[in-house]
């Protein structure tokens, strides 16, 4: 015969959860899991954004460094007559070409930069001496413009001055959406001076 006390203990031990207990547990679990999920999602998005920004900075910086180095070593093409010095750097919205001193056996080579706009996800590639173009910036250019500017220092209406030329470069990098994540935009606005070419023209 089971006593009344034992029966009560057995009942307490084996009874189910009440609705209130279940609701409290569900509310707590939802809050904790929701908070952790939100934290992790934000963390992952920030990480992707940082990664995208880093790649944009790296690609943009490398493109600018290479272009600057090529322009510093650009020389006047001997096949051109001296009065056509404004054509020493050939430039169109999609192409920038120049003759560059390579230092290898005192040779010069034709270096080309090719820009493919691609609706806000433009790319830039570089080729030297007719070799296969190498991509420098892949789908991360929102907009880019380059133009040649020239002036004659100390010139007058009757006499020509010292030739001087430079490239005006305007570029916005980081227009690419990668899995819904957009990196921080990098805006570059600068003028590049082909020092060797300018000295040669003097």
């Amino acid at each position: 015969m089971v006593s009344r006390e034992s029966e009560k203990r057995l009942y307490i031990r084996s009874r189910g959860f009440t609705l209130v207990e279940m609701l409290v547990v569900i509310a707590l679990a939802t809050t904790i899991i929701g908070g952790i999920t939100l934290l992790m999602t934000q963390f992952r998005r920030s990480f992707s954004k940082g990664e995208e920004t880093g790649v944009t900075l790296q690609e943009g910086g490398m493109f600018l460094a290479l272009l600057r180095n090529d322009l510093v070593n650009a020389v006047f093409d001997k096949r051109l007559s001296p009065d056509r010095w404004r054509e020493a750097i050939k430039i169109t919205p999609e192409r920038l070409a120049m003759t560059v001193y390579t230092g290898e056996s005192d040779q010069t080579t034709l270096v080309e930069y090719l820009y493919e706009p691609g609706s806000g996800k433009g790319s830039i590639s570089r080729s030297a001496g007719g070799s296969r173009p190498r991509t420098l910036v892949n789908g991360r250019i929102a907009s880019l413009s380059w133009e040649l500017a020239t002036e004659e220092i100390g010139g007058s209406p009757t006499a020509s001055g010292t030739p001087f030329l430079w490239i005006n470069l305007q570029a916005r990098f980081g227009g690419q959406d990668k899995a819904g994540v957009k990196g921080k935009e990098l805006v570059l606005s600068t003028k590049l001076f082909p020092a060797r070419l300018i000295r040669q023209l003097r």
Binding site: S46, A149, N168, L188, T190, K191, F193, I198
Partner: protein, 151 residues
């Protein structure tokens, strides 16, 4: 006795235990988040430094490409360094400068003489990042080079 042991083994976690676990996890995650924020700040600084460096090289390269005799000496402050403006009244050279927000430029050109003749010009370009976060010491960046007489 056995009943109590079995009860202890099967019982669920208490609220206090869960709170302690969440607290411990937070203590681990907070430094991770803080270091991640520092990484992002580092990226921002790299971006600013690339812009600053580009602005400094732009001015330096222009001076290095200019005719030696025409490069004026002296200190040129940010107000004087404007696109299309004459460098000084003694030279036909003009500044060719791109517009970059939140920076200030300064140019210093000094003569280096040998045997009574100016042989070299020392060029120093300093870029100061304007005080955005109200920091006492603004960030400065200087590039220097020597311009040599060729004749």
């Amino acid at each position: 006795m056995n009943n109590t042991a079995a009860h202890r083994k099967c019982r669920a976690l208490t609220l206090v235990e869960i709170l302690v676990a969440v607290g411990l996890m937070s203590a681990v995650m907070i430094p991770v988040m803080v270091s991640f924020g520092a990484g992002n700040r580092g990226l921002s600084m790299s971006s600013e430094e690339l812009t600053t460096h580009t602005a400094a090289i732009e001015l330096l390269e222009q001076i290095m490409a200019s005719p030696f005799d025409l490069v004026p000496t002296g200190v040129f402050r940010n107000e004087q360094i404007r696109d299309g403006q004459l460098m000084s009244s003694a030279t036909p050279l003009r500044f060719h400068i791109s517009s970059v927000p939140d920076i200030e430029r300064q140019l210093l050109v000094t003569n280096i003489e040998k045997d009574g003749r100016v042989r070299l010009k020392k060029v120093a370009v300093t870029i100061t990042l304007k005080d955005r976060d109200s920091k006492a010491q603004p960030r400065r960046f200087t590039v220097k080079s020597l311009l040599a007489r060729e004749n």
